[in-house]
């Protein structure tokens, strides 16, 4: 009996191909956005993992030269002979490839794509015949340099070979760039500074911070993907609800013919499953396409912002298909659960009423309003109390869902007010008809609102981040020219050349120490207007800069303050001496704690740390000539001089790549929402002929009716947009003030961008207009005979 029932059910789609299309495309779009975003995230994460395993980034402490210059490998031998289990690494750029030379016999086991257990590899490695293992994308660039083997386990753009081979290829004979410290060390060891004073230990954690930082980016993407999927689910829910309503008559007939209810529901689930699988496949394929188009920008963003390497090319990962299909099936079932439940509960002979949907909608309105209110209340309570990541997300979910449910209620209320206040007959009919359409359109409008809110929220967050970031750059890069020197002699040369040509020379010196258990960089700053004028303090004592200059005060960054919960007025120990916190400043993107004390106190506490970098204050116009003069009169290479303008431009260029991704996703979600409106209107239009026919009969022309349809949709879109704006701002606030703090330890100030919101509103209106255009045109072209027929068929 299954087959006849299935064909009977499927015949519905033959009669309403547009609904089938809506369902399939809605689900496919939702799946596409979700799986596309997931694909990007997965690809990036896989790249980090490979990078981590390639060089043990973040896993191992490293000994790095203080001056950043490669050092003699005898330092490695001396340290080994002193009882330090370290392993040398030499690295450099070769034909655009990052070539890493490692020493397999001393490298910690987890470090390498090869290990001592894989004997053939090791033999080839040590045999000195130049075996190079390279990421597949790096093989071509290295051809001819030795025996190059492609290896998927190596980070993109990277190649690994024996240290001896690498030294030769990189022209670094006898030199190493860093030493990896084995986590296993013998019982007794001298201190590193005794044997290798030129090296300093870099804790493993600092490398792992790449993951923490990039997480913020992925979090944004994931939030976007999830919102898009929810928007898509609204479409699917709408389409399924409509289809099931229209099939009530068929269900009644089938059941009257003796089909058991359980079988009927089972077959319907089967039917939906089939639809979900097909749409899921289409969606996942589309997601792959989206991901492959966006990935190069994402990769560029991550590389620029955080120095994290991500492959440009997308690899096929079966897990996407599985997760894409799973989310499509789950989404369909969630969307259909209500409809299936209603079918199951329906009395066997319940009539097939064409306006059943609208009538149930009105009945449910009140319940929906109360649920919405409850959810919004939960959201507000959480907003005041939420501290962690999970409660932050729960709050977001409550807020979005509550707002979405509240939308139809609010719209009905506004439309009711408008109807009551209008006197003109056509106007009254216009508002009344809008209210009557509302239940059918509300799902699409919810989708539109969520899409707009997501856009407002995410773009507010990104733009706020950008503004903060720019401000932060201004604060941090206040000097016009930065110069690094190798030794005191170069520093003296520099002073000689610049004296009289610059307004100030600000030494930049730092030391590393744990403060309140947090690894911290301690800076010794000169008391200068540059800092007083530019640095923005999030929290400060009465005269923070005077206290710092006086020697007793310290300024700390927000990360240190939040991690150790120390704030203005608290005391901290720096190199064993007490300082009182006088201010907390924003320090975005820095994983480490930071503390600023007076330069004289610094010199007394850290006599070995001499300033190696200097910030020069001068007229920006004169930067170029001064650079040239320094280059001619001193041995400082041009590479050690950096223009502030150059750094800023580079940083911002990188940041703006992020926008490419967010704006692309903005457009996509709006498209999905517009599509939802189009589909709702199209499915409605056939049902609406009986309602429009009397208006036509009373003298409204078809063209007028069409224009009114268009106007009504646009008005509803504008109204939705008005509600979406505060929701979006609430979303942005939650992301900046709750989720960001929980995830990354700093709170971003929130800025408003009215112009952007206006543009977004315009785009949403455009989407609604385009979506309503075709149904309106169709309506305007409805043959009079079709309208007349309504009266002949009068029930």
């Amino acid at each position: 009996m299954i087959w006849p029932v299935l064909t009977a059910l499927l015949s519905h789609w033959r009669r309403y191909p547009l609904q089938l299309f809506t369902l399939t495309v809605g689900l496919a779009l939702a799946t596409a956005l979700w799986s596309g975003v997931q694909a990007i995230n997965a690809e990036a994460r896989a790249s980090y993992d490979i990078a981590a395993s390639t060089l043990g980034e973040g896993q191992f402490d490293r000994l790095v030269p203080r001056d950043g210059q490669p050092f003699d490998q005898t330092v490695f031998v001396d340290l080994r002979r002193a009882g330090w289990r370290v392993s040398p690494v030499v690295q450099g750029d070769l034909n655009g490839i990052r070539l890493i030379g490692i020493e397999p016999l001393t490298a910690p086991g987890a470090l390498l794509p090869i290990n001592a257990a894989n004997s053939a590899d090791l033999t080839a490695f040590l045999a000195g015949n130049g075996l190079i293992r390279a990421a597949p994308d790096a093989v071509a660039a290295l051809s001819g340099l030795g025996q190059v083997i492609a290896d998927d386990a190596i980070a993109p753009g990277t190649a690994i070979t024996d240290i001896g081979v690498a030294q030769g290829l990189l022209g670094k004979a006898g030199l190493v760039d860093l030493l990896i410290v084995d986590p296993v060390q013998p019982m007794h060891q001298p201190s590193v500074s005794e044997f290798a004073p030129e090296l300093s230990i870099q804790a493993a954690r600092s490398g792992a911070e790449v993951g923490r930082l990039t997480d913020s980016f992925h979090l944004n993407l994931t939030a976007f993907g999830l919102l898009s999927f929810v928007v898509g689910l609204f479409i699917v829910h709408g389409a399924i609800a409509l289809a099931f309503e229209q099939r009530r008559a068929m269900v009644r007939t089938l059941r009257a013919l003796g089909v058991p209810l359980r079988l009927l529901v089972g077959v319907m689930v089967l039917e939906l499953l089939g639809l979900a699988l097909v749409s899921g496949a289409i969606g996942t394929a589309m997601g792959y396409l989206i991901a492959s188009l966006l990935l190069p920008d994402v990769a560029a963003t991550l590389r620029g912002l955080y120095g994290a390497d991500v492959a440009n090319g997308l690899q096929f990962r079966p897990v996407w298909w599985v997760s894409g299909m799973a989310i499509a099936v789950c989404g369909t079932m969630i969307a259909a659960a209500g409809a299936l439940w209603r079918i199951g509960k329906m009395p066997i002979l319940s009539g097939a009423q064409p306006r059943a949907l609208a009538l149930t909608g009105r009945r449910n309105g009140q319940v929906q309003g109360w649920v919405a209110l409850a959810l919004l209340a939960v959201g507000c309570v959480l907003a005041a109390t939420a501290a962690g990541l999970v409660s932050g997300f729960v709050m977001l979910a409550a807020l979005l869902l509550g707002a979405a449910l509240a939308l139809p209620v609010l719209l009905a209320w506004v439309l009711g007010l408008l109807q009551a206040s209008s006197r003109d007959v056509v106007a009254q009919w216009f508002w009344a008809d809008a209210r009557q359409q509302l239940p059918a359109l509300s799902l699409a409008l919810m989708a539109l609102m969520l899409a707009m809110a997501a856009n407002v929220g995410v773009s507010t967050m990104v733009s706020s981040f950008r503004l903060t970031f720019v401000g932060f750059l201004d604060q941090r890069l206040a000097s016009e020219l930065y110069i690094a020197v190798d030794d005191q002699q170069q520093a003296d040369q520099l002073f000689g050349v610049v004296s009289g040509h610059v307004d100030a020379v600000l030494p930049i010196q730092s030391a590393r120490e744990a403060i309140a258990g947090v690894p911290t960089e301690i800076y010794g700053n000169r008391d200068h207007a540059t800092y007083r004028d530019n640095w923005l303090l999030l929290q400060s004592g009465p005269a923070p800069w005077d206290a710092v200059a006086g020697g007793s005060g310290v300024l700390i960054n927000e990360q240190l303050a939040r991690r150790s919960n120390i704030w203005v007025g608290d005391q901290i120990l720096v190199a064993g001496e007490a300082f009182e916190i006088q201010g907390v400043y924003g320090d975005y993107g820095n994983p480490l704690g930071q503390a600023v004390i007076d330069e004289h106190r610094f010199a007394a506490l850290f006599p070995d740390e001499l300033p190696r970098r200097f910030g020069l204050r001068l007229d920006p116009e004169k930067v170029g000539p001064l650079r040239e003069r320094i280059g001619q009169a001193t041995s400082i290479p041009q590479a050690n001089m950096i223009n502030q303008a150059g750094i800023k431009a580079a940083s911002l260029a990188v940041f703006d790549r992020t926008f490419t991704v967010t704006s692309a996703l903005n457009v996509l979600t709006l498209t999905v929402a517009g599509f939802a409106i189009l589909m709702s209107l199209l499915t409605l239009s056939a049902m609406r002929v009986p309602q429009l026919a009397p208006a036509w009969a009373m003298g409204l022309t078809r063209a007028q009716l069409g224009r009114l349809e268009l106007l009504r949709t646009c008005f509803l879109a504008v109204l939705t947009g008005v509600f979406a704006l505060p929701l979006g701002l609430a979303l942005a606030w939650a992301l900046l003030a709750i989720v960001n703090v929980a995830a990354f330890g700093w709170r971003l100030p929130m800025f408003l961008f009215p112009v952007d919101y206006a543009v977004l509103g315009g785009l949403a209106l455009l989407a609604a207009f385009l979506a309503a255009l075709w149904p309106a045109v169709r309506l305007a072209r409805t043959p009079p005979s079709a309208l007349l027929q309504v009266f002949s068929n009068e029930r």
Binding site: Q73, T74, F76, V77, R80, R81, A82, G83, R85, E103, L105, T106, A116, A117, S119, A120, L122, T123, A124, L126, A127, G128, D162, I163, G164, V165, Q167, G174, V184, Q185, P186, M187, H188
Partner: protein
């Protein structure tokens, strides 16, 4: 002590190297071959012989703490050449492997180190005498070296002092290993007296005792039908010493040297020595005999040896059992036992 040739060449985990050696064949002419009639040149021969494929410095010591507690110490440096010659820097074919162990009655600490030759991280030279890998070293003079090693949870620092002559095994140090003529250059210094300290997790212990150094180098791997071997070096209280081993295979092959208190070496032929397991212990998922009957009937030796700590498992990249033993029976004394090839 040819067993250790087999040990290195067959069981060094880098099977690729072994295949490389096999490919080169036992008579690879590019490596130097041991010559009968060669007179050791000291101190030069205390250092490395890079022209030979394989070589080691092998020290075992039986020590006693102030409270009479027995301890055992092992310090071993292996050298393997992946090819002939001794190019400088990273291009050298010389690879070094060090094993250090410290055994107490209830603990066994092990550490392994690997190093490339050519850059100074590991090496061996006769004059001034120095054999080292990382911070481990046996250096000073051959007759009175300082022996040091350390690991995660142990370290030792011992002063050795030779109280007897160097012992040449086989024919004046030319030690024939098989009927087809494979051989090695092989000498020992079994007469070191030891004083020093052990660093253990619970603290430092001052110790005294005796140590035994084996020096051997060759280029010729043995035929490899044996499944493993059992090897002992025993120091009897009367001042005499016994080194002996058996290769387990289709046929058991034994070899031994009896050393008189004055250092005179008496080579024993195949079959003169009898090694019989008496008791098994479950170690590292396998059964290993940790009590043996050792007999040399012709010389009136009939003793049983008992491991100080049955758990003296060397969980290194080549796993094996090596630890101190107590000797009882016709003679009493101390010694070291090494066993390989016992599979789970």
């Amino acid at each position: 002590m040819n067993v250790r040739f087999v040990f290195l060449l067959l069981l060094w985990p880098l099977a690729g190297w072994a295949q490389g050696f096999a490919g080169l064949g036992a008579s690879d002419p590019s490596f130097a071959r041991p010559q009968r009639g060669y007179e050791f040149q000291f101190p030069r021969d205390h250092g490395a012989h890079p022209d030979y494929r394989i070589e080691w410095w092998y020290v075992t010591a039986n020590l006693t703490g102030p409270d009479g507690t027995a301890y055992g110490v092992q310090w071993t440096l292996f050298r393997t050449a992946l090819g002939t010659g001794d190019a400088v820097g990273w291009a050298t074919p010389q690879v070094w492997m060090g094993h250090a162990a410290l055994t107490t009655p209830d603990a066994h600490h092990v550490e392994e180190r690997l190093a490339r030759g050519g850059i100074g991280q590991a090496g061996a030279q006769g004059n001034p005498y120095a054999v080292w890998i990382d911070e481990w070293e046996m250096a000073g003079s051959f007759d009175a070296p300082r022996l040091r090693a350390s690991g995660v949870d142990f370290a030792y620092d011992l002063a050795l002092s030779a109280k007897g002559p160097i012992v040449r095994h086989g024919d004046n140090g030319y030690s024939v290993k098989s009927a087809v003529g494979q051989a090695s250059h092989y000498y020992s210094q079994p007469f070191y007296e030891v004083a020093g300290r052990l660093m253990l997790p619970m603290g430092e212990v001052a110790v005294t005792g005796q140590a035994w150094l084996d020096r051997e180098w060759s280029s010729q791997p043995l035929a490899a039908d044996q499944s493993g071997w059992d090897w002992v070096s025993l120091s009897f209280d009367d001042g005499s010493k016994l080194m002996g081993f058996q290769l387990r295979g289709a046929e058991v092959f034994t070899s031994a040297t009896l050393i008189r208190p004055d250092g005179q070496a008496i080579p024993l032929a195949n079959g003169d020595l009898s090694l019989q397991p008496l008791e098994l212990a479950h170690v590292a998922d396998r059964n290993v005999p940790v009590t043996w009957s050792v007999r040399v009937p012709d010389h009136g030796i009939d003793v049983s040896i008992v491991a100080l700590n049955a758990d003296a498992w060397m969980g290194t990249s080549v796993p094996y059992w090596e630890g101190p033993v107590q000797v009882r029976g016709s003679h009493s004394g101390v010694g070291y036992l090494e066993m390989t090839g016992y599979t789970p």
